[in-house]
Subunit: 223 residues, 2 copies
Amino acid sequence: MVASLVGDPARANMLTALMTGRALTATELAHQAGITPQTASSHLAKLDAGGLIEQEKQGRHRYYRLADPDVAGVLEGLAGLAARAGHMRVRTGPKDPALRRARVCYDHLAGDLGVQMLDSMKRQKLIRQHKHDIELTAQGQRFLTKALQIDAETLAHPRRPVCKACLDWSERRHHLAGTLGAALMTRFTELKWAARDATPGSRIVNFSRNGETRFAALFGDAA
Amino acid sequence: MVASLVGDPARANMLTALMTGRALTATELAHQAGITPQTASSHLAKLDAGGLIEQEKQGRHRYYRLADPDVAGVLEGLAGLAARAGHMRVRTGPKDPALRRARVCYDHLAGDLGVQMLDSMKRQKLIRQHKHDIELTAQGQRFLTKALQIDAETLAHPRRPVCKACLDWSERRHHLAGTLGAALMTRFTELKWAARDATPGSRIVNFSRNGETRFAALFGDAA
DNA sequence: ACAATGCTTCGGCTATCATCGAACTATGAA
DNA sequence: TTCATAGTTCGATGATAGCCGAAGCATTGT
């Protein structure tokens, strides 16, 4: 039963930690849950068997992430019920509206605008989706060159995919990561469409008046 | 934590029984879950404290129902995740195969054969379904008279419906309850098609060789 | 090759919690 | 009143499952 998997406190803590959408290593998750790596390993195996999480081997690390946005949805539903009962669990997303709007996830754009961008790119068939993996189309390559002077050839990297769908923490939907996601963020900064907030350590991204307009022209709801 | 409440098999069974939207008494729920009333009482108190169900006192009965449609939504979401994992419930229902096959639920037939019977009756248009309620059709009345010498007129009862869909414990699908369900079970016994197991307190129903054949002729998969 | 790191498997300990028998309360019926 | 039914509380029991120490792979780095 799935519910019993989520029911255990240690596992619930790990899942909550994964709600950020980022993939975390087994040791990091053990730390988050306050248990030893052995115990965490056992829990992670069960969560994996139950289809709640997926693992990805990378070197001597194993990265774990939520299997699916649907999982995040159900977890959010459970949290909602728990909140109503008084057992407040206040770990839901960022409260700061600016952080929800646009922020950096490592080196790429996340938040409402990040999700909106990936949606738009799929709608314009710049990006195609195969099950969980996404890839740039030929049409997408032309678009990048023409609209943003980004050469898709230079994006190849031995260890990192060009396109990767990353589960957005606040939106619970995917935004674009990978070298392309990073390149786009860099380009937006270079063009002075956007800039990281001045506050040290802040992940907020502020768009300029002009930048917001240009961004909307390329990736707006209408585009 | 809410999830741990749903995680327990017995509680999950009770909640599943309540998914029909109807309110059930504590004893009925205990029966559905295959546990004693004492244990059920403990579980119901926890579910109530967790805000998943509500109770309503009425005479010496206590009726329990899901607290909210949202609760039903979350439960459905969990079921969806469970189904996807192919991780279909392992620890539910009775272990005894005979009990799964045919048993009494109060005074009517339950288990595989009970579910099969209701399915067949719907397929033959002897019973019609309106949302959650079911009723006997004119065609069904004729069938009962002709095939089983049951007069539908005599089934009317001030406090009990003639037809009632009862969620089957082991099959998780509906079987036929109500005065008609009881009358059928009685008739099967009278005709010596079936008999309750000799063991005191046993709910198992044993069909005779002949009874199984006759039953299948009326309510078999082909019928 | 060797050491270090990340993670898993194994075995035993422990605590939690579901379960049931027995006894108690409350409502309704005779 | 007395009996029967519905439901609860209490106490004891037992099994499940989480937990950690120790040891075993696997991968990376020197």
